[in-house]
Amino acid sequence: MAGETAKVDPMHQFTIEPLFGTETLDIAGYNIAFTNSALWMLITAVVLWVFMLGGMKQQLVPGRWQMMVETFTGFIDDMLEANIGKEGRKYVPYIFSLFMFILFANLLGLMPLGVVGLHPFTFTSHFTVTGVLAIMSFAIVLVVGFWKHGLHFFSLFVPSGTPLIMAIFIAPIEFISFMFRPFSLGLRLFVAMMAGHVLLEVLSSFVIDGGNAGLVWAGVVSLPSFALMVAICALEILVSGIQAYVFALLSSLYINDAEHLH
């Protein structure tokens, strides 16, 4: 019966389960159960808070930890300065929260805590989460755009210097690409995180099934799969950083459109 028990569902890791008997918790009829997803959001927030505490020593000559925190704030500050200019300063709290929250969530989801019996949950692999974050960024773009430029914000869809005849065709295209921004923003992160975790799960099932099938299969299947897993783990750590960076970078680019139009 070894074949049956070793069957792995690579999607099972994304299942959301209510914890601590809160499945009936609701507000106005909407269920708000405290799930494993919410737990990992909380863990991410707490870990991020602890990390930031290291930056609160405010020493003139920083230690390593403080230096690390300052490197991250400086990184976001520089990115906003480069993409938006000096008006970008006021978005540092939002973009920093976004970047660090996603980065820590991605990295914590990769932690090999299964070894000690805990099951890390990567909530950035749920489009219900990435979608809300994307809509948040998009809402900021809309609010800032209409607040600063009023109805003139619609000129965003007509690149400057376009002849009228071209503008008739370009404006709808620009409008559609603009409306697709939150989807691409949210889906990109969700897909990248989910694909990585599925890949790792599938490979680990190869390792285990190969091992169960005997010494020969362990040598032919398990060892190469394991080597590949190690490499893909490194890749996934890279992807965690890149996806968080891309999310923050695109958000800041979209905000730049709202601040400066074209």
């Binding site: 999607m11 099972h12 994304f14 299942t15 959301i16 209510p18 609701d26 507000i27 909407y30 269920n31 708000i32 159960a33 405290f34 799930t35 997803s37 919410a38 959001m41 909380l42 991410t44 927030a45 991020l48 808070w49 930031m52 930056g55 609160m56 405010q58 020493q59 003139l60 920083p62 403080q66 925190v69 300052e70 704030t73 400086g74 500050d77 540092v92 709290p93 939002y94 920093f96 929260s97 660090m100 929250f101 909530f123 692999s125 749920h126 489009f127 219900t128 989460v129 809300v132 974050l133 948040m136 969700f190 989910m194």
Partner: protein, 164 residues
């Protein structure tokens, strides 16, 4: 795919907890901690810039002082050089006058000696003449038994001596 399969039951809980927790992150970390961290960085950058400016000012002042010192040093050196030159010239002059004085004394001595030698020579020549005349007188007396007067003898001697 649980993300889609579970969507009807989980979307509200996901939305609620994400908003609560991301809101906490935004207000506590983004709004509360990040500005303080950035202030620290800004303060440090300002301090470094100030220190650098102070260092630059100190260096400029040092350069200025060095320049002034160099000028003073050059002037001092020039003055010393002038003093040395003056002393040299004075020494040379005094040596010269002393030498000239000594030279003059030597010249005078030489001249005096020369006149003395000339006098001695003349005296000696006269003496030789008179001795020769006497000798000639004597020789003539003894050999020829001719008595020759002193004047004749003298003139004869003179003639002979003039011939060499």
């Amino acid at each position: 795919m649980p993300q889609i399969a579970q969507l009807p039951e989980i979307w509200s809980s996901q939305l609620f907890w994400l908003l609560v927790i991301f809101g906490l992150v935004y207000f506590v970390i983004g709004r509360g901690m990040v500005p303080k961290v950035m202030d620290t960085v800004g303060l440090r950058d300002k301090q470094i810039a100030d220190d650098l400016a102070a260092a630059q000012a100190a260096r400029d002042a040092a350069d200025e002082q060095e320049e002034a010192w160099r000028k003073r040093e050059n002037a001092n050196r020039e003055a010393a050089q002038a003093l040395v030159n003056e002393a040299k010239a004075k020494a040379a002059k005094s040596t010269e006058t002393k030498l000239a004085k000594v030279q003059a004394a030597i010249d005078a001595q030489l001249e005096e000696a020369e006149t003395r030698i000339a006098a001695s020579r003349a005296e000696a020549a006269a003496e030789i003449e008179s001795v020769a005349a006497e000798a000639a007188q004597d020789i003539a007396q003894r050999l020829a038994n001719v008595s020759v007067t002193k004047t004749v003898a003298k003139s004869a001697v003179k003639k002979a001596m003039a011939n060499g």
